[in-house]
Amino acid sequence: MLKMIVCMKQVPMVSDLPWDPITGTLTRGAAEGMMNPACKHALEAALLLKEKHDGHITAITMGPPSAEEILREAIALGADRCLMVSDPKMAGADTLATSFTLARAIEIFCPDFDLILCGCHTSDSETAQVGPQLSEELDIPSIASVESLELREKTLRITRVSDHFLETLEMDLPGLVTIATGRFIPRYASMAGLGDAFQDPGILTVGARDLGLDEHDVGLKGSATRILDIFTPVGRKENIVLTGAPKKIVEELFERFDDAIGSVIRKDLKAEK
């Protein structure tokens, strides 16, 4: 049996996040959560392996209680077991603290894994660091940004593109991969499956104490980095705003900027009189 772990994170749904342009702070409550896209690809890669190799998948997330939803979604898609690592003390973790905490949870609750799959990066923090750092923390080999994988016995053969090189690499399990987005197009969960998954009570939730961790090891206190502030990049232009019907806007655009555009494309754009 191939025992797999998929690490997943809940991220805000929209890319144009609602933020307050005056204070520059996020109104995060307004943004709903979803499974980070790259984690979906990682789960898909695990599901394909499971179909082929008699696999077993544990989905793990560290996050606020609301993140349980993505574990339910993972069950609906075919994960066998879930682990929710949640504790107010874990809030504000950077990648160092996140990978540390995930590693301890894995050591205690699924120590006999063969393969860990992570997304290549998250859409909110985008560091692409948690996967590689988790492999260091567990002292197992890892390969990032994998595009295809194939398992023979306990050897994983992968391909990926790395800095203009198409690489084929091999790694003996146990090991960790991060999955590139682009391949492994995620499947959809059926509504019935989702319904069942929300009935299924079997989500194990653990906190810092269950992992034998001190509050200084996790969350903000366990992090090496500090955020000073978050702000919006400022514009630099005169910024003329045009609104109305598309046809009218386009006419106005050429009335005002026919020369600016025409001189570049070397065409006379003056309207016919």
């Binding site: 560091t127 502030d229 702000f231 990049p233 910024n239 705003v241 006419e251």
Partner: protein
Amino acid sequence: MAEKKHSIWVFGDYRNYFQNRVTLQLLSRANDLAKMIDAEVCATVFGHEVDEWVGEYIAHGASKVYVCDHPALTFYSTDIYVVLMERLVRQYGPEIILVGATSFGREFAPRLAKRLKTGLTADCVGLDINDEGLLVQTAPAFGGSLLTRIVTPEKRPQMATVRPGVFQEIPHNYQAAGEIVNVPLPDDLPGDRIRLVSSERQAAREQKLGDASVVVCGGRGMGSRKKFRNLYELARVLGGEVGATRPVVYAKWADEDALVGQADKHISPKVLFSFGISGAIQHTAGIKNAGFIIAVNKNPNAAMMKMADVAIVADAGQVCTALIRELKKRIRS
């Protein structure tokens, strides 16, 4: 020369030297930072027969280069480079380490930071020193619509990865002097746990988009592949090229060649049309040198709209069609 108090290290990532100058760009910025904290700028070079790169790094601003030259290092290896670097860092104690955010750097740096139990900020678009002498790392957050400033107050070294194109390299100076520190390959290095089966360099692509004077860029806001294809007609009428954002390339509305952004392509058109693009920093980093910008977006608050000369609040697909029609009417030859 008086001993400096600190050192700033730049990881020498020479594998695509001629296309990717990020190491040189970092050496340049490291020199600026070094003046603010009394530091010397050092580079590291791991590989086999690497004299050429050592010389280049000195010519571009490294005053010291730690070199480990050995046949066992012929191919880049994350496993081995991480251990090698960790030992050097423990021996010499640099204050700051900068790594180019290449595919390799993005895998190497987090693992090194983890071993050193220090902080790492990914994909920085700005690096500075504050009053307390800390490295202030500006990085994109939340999909690139916001920027955040991050410090590593206590742990050392302070580490950052930086995408190519953020900083300007200093012109080479082959008269520059630099000290070379030869580092022997430790004989107790653990073996590489990854086996390289094959590695083929992929052909560099043609750079038509990079030279175009008119570019029509489209993003997810174009709504569908079919509507996105209209941008090709608009580009044809304008005699320009089509660019795209990453989601569009992922959705296969456009070829990968069309991707514009810090990762892949910098463009510098005199006129840039931007349709249904939110203006994430990873994208706008690629259009820093654009001249006149016309952006179309339903959302007047999108970052892309703020950096445009003309911001059109409307449906991107409709404006595209209207533009094609109006242009065909006005171009009478």
